[in-house]
């Protein structure tokens, strides 16, 4: 019982800290990539406390719910967007020998299913706001979820086929170095599809600020808006953690993987988070039709090809 409580506390702590670290890294990395300094004032040393200051500001802001909105759904949406990412962290293994909060048998399935729920929050926000921009944004969110969920499911299934198990710790235990080239296509497809599901740039058509203000979040302000932002960064952490566990061998590193364990996992997660930020700085936004075309003309066929390759090689090796 005590063990479970300690693990739950650790998961909640990771959920509270990691997204903020990614957010702060985004402030600074983006700034330096664009020849700026980024936040420098809050907390004195290179603006490390900027997000804490943001939090203090958000919690004091007025909570405005538009008169036309569907009040209850409007107020519930940020929680629906945020909490699923916390639940996914529960099944992500960080180290060997049971360093996982809950070693769930159908772990991959659970993680993908629960991650999909997070997107419902944005759709709820888009619908409940009773705003034309929000509605258009919500529709785009829904379309994006449907197109990109499929390649994600296929590539995750490909790893499960190779490992012969759905448990996330089981997959990392089965992982060998040659899985890197073998599952490379699957890994790239999974990561790109995950980015699209999180509506991160260059897949941020649903929140395209130059045409539909801020999509589903247009009517939000104050703390509820901050919860949506937090959900985005928690989503980055979850996506990077899942990519690490499924495709990059989790806690297994080139050396000392017995001793370093969870540090390898963390290092890989942050390296991937850096790539996520890099994408945002480097690529322009995809148009809605280009977005759909990328999913159906490239990612789905590629993930089907990866399934075929995994199946053939698994049988050949067995």
């Amino acid at each position: 019982m005590l063990e479970v409580v300690v693990k739950l506390v650790l998961v909640a702590a990771a959920f509270a800290v990691l997204p903020l670290l990614v957010g702060q890294a985004e402030h600074k990395v983006m700034a330096h990539m664009q020849g700026r300094l980024g936040p420098m004032y809050a907390g004195a040393f290179h603006g490390w406390a900027q997000l804490v200051a943001d939090g203090v500001k958000f919690v004091q802001k007025e909570d405005v719910v538009p008169a036309a909105a569907d009040r209850r759904i409007f107020k519930l949406a940020p929680a629906v967007a945020l909490v699923p990412y916390l639940l996914v962290l529960l099944v992500v293994p960080v180290g060997p020998h049971g360093q996982v909060a809950l070693d769930l048998g159908p772990g991959v399935f659970f993680a993908l299913a629960v991650m999909g729920v997070g997107v419902i929050g944005a759709i709820m926000a888009g619908w409940a706001s009773a705003n034309k921009y929000s509605l258009l944004g919500g529709m785009r969110v829904a379309a994006q979820l449907m197109s990109y969920e499929l390649p994600m499911v296929f590539t995750a299934a490909s790893v499960a086929m190779a490992a012969g198990t759905l448990s996330l710790s089981g997959i990392v235990e089965q992982w060998r170095w040659y899985w890197l080239p073998w599952q490379l296509v699957g890994g790239v497809v999974f990561f790109v599809a995950g980015l699209a599901e999180l509506r991160r740039p260059p897949f941020d058509m649903p929140v395209a600020d130059s045409e539909i203000i801020f999509g589903p979040y247009t009517e939000y302000g104050g703390l509820r808006f901050a919860l949506f932002l937090l959900a985005e960064y928690a989503g980055i952490v979850v996506l990077c953690a899942l990519t690490t566990v499924l495709f990059l061998g989790g806690w297994k590193g080139p050396f000392l993987d017995g001793q370093l364990g969870w540090l390898w996992t963390l290092a890989k997660v942050f390296a991937l988070a850096f790539v996520v930020i890099w994408f945002r700085v480097s690529y322009p936004r995809l148009r809605e039709d280009q977005l759909q075309k990328l999913a159906w003309a490239w990612l789905v066929p590629l993930s089907l090809a990866q399934l075929a390759l995994t199946g053939v090689l698994t049988i050949a090796l067995a």
Partner: protein
């Protein structure tokens, strides 16, 4: 069975923790925030002019076909997961591999048909 409920009991406990985090934040917000609603503040945002018509306006959702496609594919995809854990078990081997290619062929033909019909290109 005992184990099963225990496992999802932990999930439920974390769900409660998540609710606590969000609820706690909103409760703190309630204590700290001002509350001065005015008519203008509560109007729907539409670039600063008075909103025209209803928020739930009718619009043509061009990408509804993708929803159909998704339903067709996703229902199949779910079956991949239980199958993935057993397909290379001793005694299956080539049979399940053959079945996999039948499955993939169905999906690929479906996708190719949709592409041929022009569903995947922009209207």
């Amino acid at each position: 069975m005992q184990d099963y409920f225990h496992t999802y009991g932990v999930v439920a406990a974390l769900l409660a923790v998540g609710g606590g985090i969000v609820g706690g934040g909103l409760a703190a917000n309630r204590l700290l925030r001002p509350n001065r609603p005015t008519g203008e503040k509560l109007t729907t945002y539409e670039c600063g002019v008075d909103p025209v018509g209803d928020g739930w306006a009718q619009s043509y959702v061009r990408y509804y076909v993708f929803a159909y496609l998704y339903v067709v594919f996703a229902v199949d995809a779910v079956f991949l997961f239980p199958w993935a854990t057993v397909f290379s078990a001793p005694g299956y081997g080539m049979t399940t591999l053959g079945e996999m290619f039948v499955f993939l062929a169905f999906l690929a033909v479906g996708l190719a048909y949709a592409g041929k019909k022009g569903v995947l290109s922009w209207v």
